[in-house]
């Protein structure tokens, strides 16, 4: 069963990240302004090619199209798994690492409102990962200010907005970008209180199995 849905519900960045470990073709249809079907071929965490009306685009046109598509809030998508031998024939292979391509395309866009659909709840706590990634100037500046907070107890967009004196949507946008870059992730740690419930979990599990 193919992965399918509407770009009104998922940002394209979400869809592409979902396909990180799959190989196949993502067909985009009913995109305003684009009468010809668009296909993004992915494999092994890379964008292999972007084609429009069956023609593989050169890197410059592909990059411009990707940037435009990332802002789209209308259109349908459907992903179909393809055998690797079929994808190996992709002409003009771009071989763009997915996360890097998305981050680069996003950083060129300063209107964070275009990405609001993909933002997390402003009360979701994020924490820093151990990844090391090169960032552009604006994101590096934010990371420099927020890193300590994100590395200690974690922080929400609401907290970062207040402590760093910036609009909430901007803090959400930067967290979204840092997440794409792999530098932060929603906190999901086991609290001390939770660890103390371990015996209880075991007893309930034992009762369920009877």
């Amino acid at each position: 069963m193919p992965v399918f849905g509407s770009l009104g519900d998922f940002g394209l960045s979400d869809v592409l990240m979902l396909l990180g470990n799959r190989q196949g073709s993502l067909d985009l249809r009913s995109i305003p302004g684009y009468s010809q079907p668009i296909t993004v071929s992915v494999a092994n965490g890379e964008i292999l090619s972007i084609s429009q009306g069956g023609e593989a685009l050169d890197p410059e046109r592909a990059s411009a199209l990707l940037k435009s598509l990332l802002r789209q809030a209308q259109g349908e998508f459907e992903f179909t798994d393809c055998p690797s031998e079929h994808l190996a024939n992709c002409r003009n292979a771009l071989r763009w690492p997915l996360e890097r391509a998305l981050l680069t395309a996003g950083q060129q866009e300063t209107e964070w409102s275009a990405y609001q659909r993909a933002f997390s709840d402003p009360r979701t706590k994020f924490e820093a990962t151990s990844a090391e990634v090169q960032l552009d100037d604006s994101l590096r500046d934010f990371w420099g200010k927020a890193e300590r907070l994100l590395k200690s107890d974690g922080a929400t967009a609401e907290e970062l907005s207040e402590k760093l004196a910036m609009p909430l949507e901007q803090a959400q946008f930067y967290l979204y970008e840092l997440r794409l870059a792999g530098l932060v992730t929603p906190a999901r740690g086991h609290s001390r209180e939770q660890a103390s419930k371990r015996d209880l979990w075991r007893q309930v599990l034992g009762a369920l199995r009877k």
Binding site: L18, R123, T124, K125, Q194, Q203, V204, L205, L208
Partner: protein, 175 residues
């Protein structure tokens, strides 16, 4: 007879995922429903506007089941029921991929602010076009074993989801 211990399970997820049905499947008392006629187009005529309540007995344990409303405007109710919860079952319909970003938003918020074991149940697997559990796991960036397909009308499936959640939680504590 030994005194029973009260525990709390939250059943959360977007509109139409099958939360009320799931609670009815598990509950051993008539479920206190808060369904009302939907005031906006959410794909069904009636929806939960308050907190559904049921009670499941597992050995000497009584598990209070709290179902949160799926509409975003009722998000504040999640905080009310999440405090002190034993665990979370997040339900999402595989046939309604448009609800997945909302499901992720709920899951990430609740588990970042109220750390607790959780499982994700993907309903409507009998539909012709539906995302499979492994695809939902990939979208939510979760291990595949933490996401399972289930029929919300099945008591066995609902209990299996509880079991999977606790097994996974204990496994996580050992890691």
């Amino acid at each position: 007879m030994a005194e029973s211990t009260l525990l709390k399970l939250i059943v959360a997820g977007p509109v139409g995922a099958g939360k009320t049905t799931f609670i009815k499947s598990l509950s051993e008392i008539p479920v206190v429903e808060t369904d009302e006629v939907a005031s906006e187009n959410i794909g069904k005529d009636r929806t939960t506007i308050g907190i559904d309540f049921g009670l499941a007995r597992v050995g000497n344990y009584e598990i209070r089941l709290f179902g949160t409303p799926g509409q975003e405007r009722f998000d504040f109710m999640q905080d009310i029921v999440a405090e002190g919860a034993l665990s979370l079952a997040l339900l999402v319909s595989g046939a309604a991929p448009q609800s997945l970003p909302g499901a992720r938003r709920i899951l990430e918020y609740l588990t970042s602010q109220f750390p607790m074991p959780f499982v994700v149940g993907v309903t409507h697997q009998d539909r012709e076009r539906a995302w499979k559990p492994d695809e939902v796991a990939s979208f939510l960036k979760l291990p595949e074993e933490q996401v399972l397909g289930l029929d919300a009308t099945s008591r066995e499936d609902a209990r299996a989801a509880l079991q999977r959640m606790l097994e996974f939680a204990l496994l996580g504590e050992r890691r």
